[in-house]
Amino acid sequence: MTGMGMGLNGSYDYRLVSLSVLIAVLASYAALDLAARVTAAQGRVRFAWLWGGAMAMGTGIWSMHYIGMLAFSLPIPVLYDWPTVLLSLLAAVFTSAIALFVVSRQKMGGLAAAVGSVIMGAGIATMHYTGMAAMRLPAMCHYSAIVVALSVVLAIVISLVALWLTFRLRNAVKGAWLPKLASALVMGAAIPVMHYTGMAAAGFTFTGEAPDLSHAVSVSSLGVIGITIVTFMVLGLAVLTSVVDRRFSVLESSEEQLRLIFNTALDAVITMNADGRITNWNSEAEKTFGWSSREALGRRLYDVIMPLRYRQERERELQRFLETGDGTILRQRMEMTALHRDGHEFPAEVATSPVKFGGQWIFSSFMRDIAEHKRAQGELVNAKQAAEEANRAKSIFLANMSHELRTPLNAIIGYSEMLEEETQELGNAAVVKDLQRIQSAGKHLLELINDILDLSKIEAGKMGLHLETFDVAQMIEEIANTVQPSVAKNTNTLQINVAKNVSEMRADLTKVRQVLLNLLSNSCKFTDHGTVSLTVDRRTIDRRDWLQFEVRDTGIGITDEQKENLFREFSQADTSIARKYGGTGLGLAITHRFTQIMGGTIAVDSQPGRGSKFTIQLPVEVIPVSADTARSQPPVATLAATQPDKPTRGTILVIDDDQAVRDLTSRFLMKIGFHVVTAENGAEGLRLAKLVRPLLITLDVMMPEMDGWSVLKELKQDPGIADVPVIMVSVVDNLQIGIGLGASNCLNKPVDRDRLAVLIEKYESTRPAGESSAAISEHVTSS
């Protein structure tokens, strides 16, 4: 089989073939691993990884190739031209470099992949055929063009697959080694396919001519082992380096991540060790305190960020925490005064948490400069105060203005009324009508002014309550009379229903009357040939007694949209209403506010076209809004003992400087069933009167410091207690002056007990018994 011109048949050593495949797989795995490192690295490190990787991978591919070549044995001696072999190695390394470069970029587009795989395929083919050209043997080597082309195409396709796989898997997370291995097997198997196809393209014909053996070397079995060992070492080293490097960079990157998070934090993040020294100082801390992290690290934290006067105390706290573990102050979110490098102090908010780390305490603090926040807050408070002040000023202005408007109006209404009377006597009917018009216009204007004044008083907080006890049915009767002309105007019918359980109420009569009149005249205005009804009922809700007033009509009604603005100032349900029906749009707003001031509620229910229903609920006993100062203080004066659990008739306040009189009077009053509170001077009496709101007060006239008259005057000036009956007690005979000052009655000393009992009974009957002590506790909780 070695004759001249004869084709030479080669045979394969399958052990070496297997070895070559194994090397290809290993090289592929190394390539995948290295690609990840190249991708992760930056700058010069990346360059080093690229070429180092290319070297390892190129060596792998090249060694696979040569072992494949050696596995092919011809029946003639084969030598290799070593410069050509070296050239083929360089081709393999360059090809690998290109491949790694392509796959390690951030993105791999279709074009990059195509160009990359063409170059890489061409590179592998170059390496292969260069390697073939290195063969020195007494035979001619000829190639089948089709199979060569096939091998090149295969090289390109395999390169494409390899690039794509590597790109996809380069950043595979730890633990995802299985797909990586699988892909290495695919690539490792594919590369030998190309190689052996290339080998198949070559045919050898024996010539007997001696080849140029100037640089030829033979490859012995020992050589094969050497190449294999070197290859494994290079590849193994590459993979090992890659793994070690990854470990390190994982640590590095988590630290880096932490640092990045710290530095992008909006707060100054500072950590301190148990010695009180700074171990971390982020960029916000640099900005907040003016010290760079290089300057700050290692210094004592408190020396850096705290004004001198606070340092000692803080150090002590730190020591105490370290000794006792009592860390409440350290853990809390709190405000502190911080010190900037330039010496200025600023308010800071700080939250510190101690963490035990490797047996040592470290303290991490989040701090924030809140000077701006505080300033903004201050401005907000100022703005609010200014707005409230302006609103008050407006209300006072309106009140004054209304007063000024009233004086000329007084004259207009008065003169026109007077003229009307005179003209009527003269029988001049035409002029009478005109004068009536002036009057009614004047009265309308007066109503407007009154309404505005009421509202401005409410807003200025000057709307007090004048509480009195009155008969509800009687008030309703008066209201019905007053509203009668309005009812008649639109030919309406008025129905009044007062339930039997309705008797008296304690409220501001004027305001209750105005509220009901407003609602009734509204109903009359918006109802034509219909019915307007007022129903009064008494009911108990949440253990409180309420009076419910319901005003119902069969008028035009209110739509849901109109309801929204119903109780707002100056907003009638519709502007067209003002034109058609007149009115200020203030009536319901005032009604609403008055109801609120008296602790009541108002509700509306309506069906457009069918009618409306306004429901007002007022407490049977309205509690005064003002005069609740000092109510939480316990009374200092002796609360004379009464038998517990026995219901009392109410509390009586005895104000007298004479101990004997106090004792005698209170003993007598307790005997007839009252709870008694005593005061030995005027000031204390006033305080207790406000606190206890007694059923009745007995007041001595002759007292040191503040006499009975002054006390009386003060009592009557306080809207909260002005209505409490006061019985003046004095040795002075003429006590009529007391009545003028608002006293309810007067008694001469020594007091006639029977007369006192009769008087008390008289005033007691105007208020339900036992009310006062109940009212105290109720008021204390509600204020």
Partner: protein, 125 residues
């Protein structure tokens, strides 16, 4: 016929009120400020005083207080006329010893009712 002292500084209101009361048959004497009102009351001893509260020289509260402290004038009923019903005004009116109180602009019908009542109360004494 009863004599009524009207203490009022506003010319129009004074003129209007006095003419209307005259038409009702009362005899009217007037004063234009607090001090004049006080001396007029002492000099003429009217049956009733209508007292505006916001007055120059001496306000109506003070005039009423002084009149009520004086034995000679204490019995004369005083109706205070204030701008608008503040609770404190009402309380103050009674505190200084006024017998009744009304708001301006006056509701003439209501005012004459009050005058008639106070004069009737005083009459039997």
């Amino acid at each position: 016929m009863a004599i009524i002292l009207l203490v009022e500084d506003n010319e129009m209101n004074r003129d209007m009120l006095s003419r209307r009361l005259q038409r009702k048959g009362y005899h009217i004497v007037t004063a234009t400020d607090g001090e004049k009102g006080l001396s007029m009351a002492r000099a003429t001893g009217p049956d009733l005083i209508l007292m505006d509260i916001t007055l120059p020289e001496m306000d109506g509260w003070e005039v009423a207080r002084l009149l009520k402290q004086d034995e000679r004038t204490r019995h004369i009923p005083i109706i205070a006329l204030t701008a608008r019903a503040l609770v404190s005004d009402r309380a103050k009116a009674f505190e200084v010893g006024c017998d009744d109180y009304d708001t301006k602009p006056v509701d003439f019908v209501r005012l004459t009712e009050k005058i008639v009542n106070l004069l009737a109360e005083k009459a039997p004494a």
